[in-house]
Symmetry: C2
Amino acid sequence: MADEGKATDEAEIRRLIDEWVRAFRAKDIKGVMSVFATDVVSYDIVPPLRYVGAAAYRKPWEEAFASYQTPVGYEVRDPSITIGEDVAFSHSLNRVSGTLTDGVRTELWLRWTIGLRKIDGEWLVTHEHASVPVDLMTGRAALDLEP
Amino acid sequence: MADEGKATDEAEIRRLIDEWVRAFRAKDIKGVMSVFATDVVSYDIVPPLRYVGAAAYRKPWEEAFASYQTPVGYEVRDPSITIGEDVAFSHSLNRVSGTLTDGVRTELWLRWTIGLRKIDGEWLVTHEHASVPVDLMTGRAALDLEP
């Protein structure tokens, strides 16, 4: 019974991630935001240090999507998901690729961690952390790494 | 009863973080590594994209500690801890400061996420993600941000 519940939870979290990827590729801002709890705390790949609350976190998504042609390429590679009764987290290396509105092609691998809570029977992302590594001596971001 | 268990779990995780901070400040590599599960997957602030396993993750710690004079300043600011029965995660903005062996003073705020599992009654960190934001247009890391 417990194992069945866990299998269902894993299927639900994988579906949440799949739906989020679909929304990202389509630049569907409503779909992207739908997985986040209203009080999500996000450490995004770009400044500032953090966004507190889904309302504040919407703006950088609008800006990012505005700079890309549609569709955007997005892949969540082999997410490792750790699931408890009502708390879970997932980490993966994600690949984002696409063409900017000025025609420049971009491709990037980033590290992606999400923390989730099951709230009223529904899994939601309450914490997100996306980043690339940096060279602390030169101050350069490592934007060309591959898994 | 469940609430009591949760309070105990929170106290244990806070103690784990406190002990880790103490070890970091003292450059106590054994103490730092003691909180990580053997199969920890770490997304460190510096390249590569990830470290898989505590054995591989020890080396960058040795290198980082070798570049700092003792003690190092380290603060975990107001960790937000989400705790389930045997799965938990925590996120916080951490401040690392110190003097490099060449005499240069450094100070940096980073974003820190840890995922934990309760294994045989003991909480261990199975996933860690540390980063600073980057400017994707210039490729520069944002090393001077403050909360």
